[in-house]
Symmetry: C2
Subunit: 346 residues, 2 copies
């Protein structure tokens, strides 16, 4: 089989540690991988002022997929790396689907009382290339009492329809066949109306799928009180950001939450990353849980059509989680990676 | 003592039922109240097409405070009553503080495992008159594949500073003296920067207050994993909407969550309402929990400087909640109101 060309952006903080374990697990599958590491993140910005040079972006495009660790450091002004590197990759590579499974694995402790694994099994399809993340907005009379700062959410029929269609496709493949739109269409009436009309229109092509709507505020409530309400969720970029962190929390913590930034057209490589950030407070100490990155590798394999390998990785993680019995055992990042890689290889 | 002029907007769904119990408790205090009921909401809109006529708004202004039940009905297009009535009241009366205590009362069941009342005691100060709620935005080429829909978040130094100051004042009066800004300043950089700079500037005047920052996505995680992290939270209109519903959920449910829409200048009456909506599915059945409305009455009393009366109502609710032992007992809305009113009177 041909080898996979993988661009690796380990990034900041715990990024390099968790990415190393993700790659270890990939190796354990015995696949041919050509890795290209890219030195991007806080260190490069301090050294050169660059976040993502055009030439690097052009190179990254030549890969089959991207594995990303985490981006962001307190030494860099908030937003510089997030907008200049992470979001730039998502936007330039047209990752219009930000796929975030929210699933409570057996053996994992949830902060919710009386909640079982079968109660939490959702797939959040978060839009990735527009909405409030467009970067539109500005500031007038900065630093004066007359300052005005704006942020604009840009939503297009094109952008909404393609991600809604993707979400329906996903819902059609799942046993429950339910799709919930999460928005705030009673306040954000222009954008909310576009999203609601689009869901209604596409729903007509999927008569088997049960369609539901929840305001984002109510959705956060249901995440803790009735998570079993949800199967597939489709939502905008900002609401998706918020509810998937909450989803991670109820499904046992950010150390387990995987994500894929997907361009389903294949016109550019998709990018896989843990939902967690760079966690500078624990960086370099071997304390980070690599599981989220390893599960992101499973999403990567799925995206490349390697379903058997993806299932192997997921199963290894599932078995490891049961063995761990909920508590994050006294293992280093590396030992956790070793344990999972061993299961994958074995 | 002079009597309180109270405008009563019972509204839709369970609104009238819960408002009746709030008024019952107010009566039980033996205070002189001049109530003016306003017939606003879905029924009026269907009858006349009006949401909030200017003449009614002018009348409402002549009151000391407003008690509101809930607004919204499935028979009315989403947003019509929310924007035309509820948000219009908040904006016209310049309710720039949306005050939402999040507190786990003893005896109340929380969906969080291992969480005690002392872990959840926050005060969310949500901005109420700008941000993404401004209503700015528009739609182009509606209904075509080229549709573009925008929503604009408008943030002003004037608007942010006044609510941030209010939040610092509140933090200064609480034992923990901690204030957390919740925003998303790594993505919404223009607005986030204004909020962050404003908090930093005001913080210099409050050296005793510990100041913290959390991205909204992380904040939702902390609400379920470490709610004890928070004391006073200050945040924008949309983030405040989302996290206070989540806060209600972790503090035992939307049936207990009170709020005040406050104009601290006194230039217009403030408005008190339960955080929950109109819940049309259970309307008219006596199933709604009036506690959130009764706690909103306590906030109303506090706002009018009637602290002793406010404490009496809060204490009556606290005692009732302990007696109920977490479970929403087999009481009707009216019986629950009777029980609490009796404690207040006794
Ligand atoms: C780091 C930040 C820009 C990012 C986002 O908001 O999308 C993160 O929170 C995420 O969810 O991947
Ligand atoms: C009904 C709706 C407009 C309102 C809001 O979004 O503010 C409600 O959710 C609330 O929190 O009071």
């Amino acid at each position: 089989s041909r080898s996979i060309r993988l661009a690796v952006v380990a990034g900041d903080g715990i990024g390099p540690e968790v990415v190393a374990e993700g790659l270890k697990v990939l190796d354990a599958l015995g696949m041919k991988i050509e890795q290209t590491p890219y030195d991007l993140g806080a260190a490069r910005w301090h050294r050169t002022g660059e976040t993502l040079p055009d030439s690097v972006l052009a190179e990254i495009r030549q890969h089959d997929a991207i594995l990303l660790g985490a981006v962001g450091d307190p030494s860099v002004p908030s937003g510089v790396l997030e907008r200049g590197l992470l979001l730039r990759l998502r936007f330039e590579l047209d990752h219009f689907v930000n796929l975030r499974p929210v699933r409570l694995y057996p053996g994992v402790e949830t902060p919710l009382a009386d909640t079982r694994p079968e109660d939490i099994d959702m797939l959040v399809v978060r839009e990735g290339t527009e909405g409030p993340y467009a970067g539109a907005g500005g500031v007038l009379r900065k630093g004066t009492p007359q300052e005005v700062a704006t942020q604009e959410s840009l939503n297009t029929a094109f952008g909404v329809e393609r991600v809604v269609r993707y979400a329906f496709e996903q819902a059609a493949r799942r046993p429950r066949k339910k799709l919930t739109l999460v928005h705030k269409n009673n306040v954000l009436t222009y954008a909310g109306d576009l999203w609601s009309r689009t869901v209604d229109a596409v729903a007509a092509e999927y008569p088997d799928i049960e369609v539901d709507y929840s305001h984002v505020d109510a959705a956060t409530m249901f995440f803790v009180s009735q998570p079993e309400r949800f199967d597939v969720i489709v939502t905008d970029n900002l609401f998706g950001d918020i509810i998937t962190d909450l989803g991670a929390a109820v499904a046992g913590g950010i150390g387990l939450a995987a994500s894929g930034n997907i361009n389903p057209t294949g016109a550019a490589p998709s990018m896989f990353e843990p939902v967690h950030g760079s966690a500078p407070d624990i960086a370099g100490q071997g304390k980070a849980d690599p599981t989220a990155t390893i599960l992101s590798v499973a999403l990567l394999l799925d995206h490349l059509g390697l379903a058997d390998e993806a299932r192997k990785v997921e199963q290894a993680v599932a078995d490891d989680l049961i063995e761990r019995q909920g508590a994050w055992a006294a293992r280093s990042t590396r030992e956790a990676g070793d344990d999972i890689a061993e299961r994958v290889a074995g």
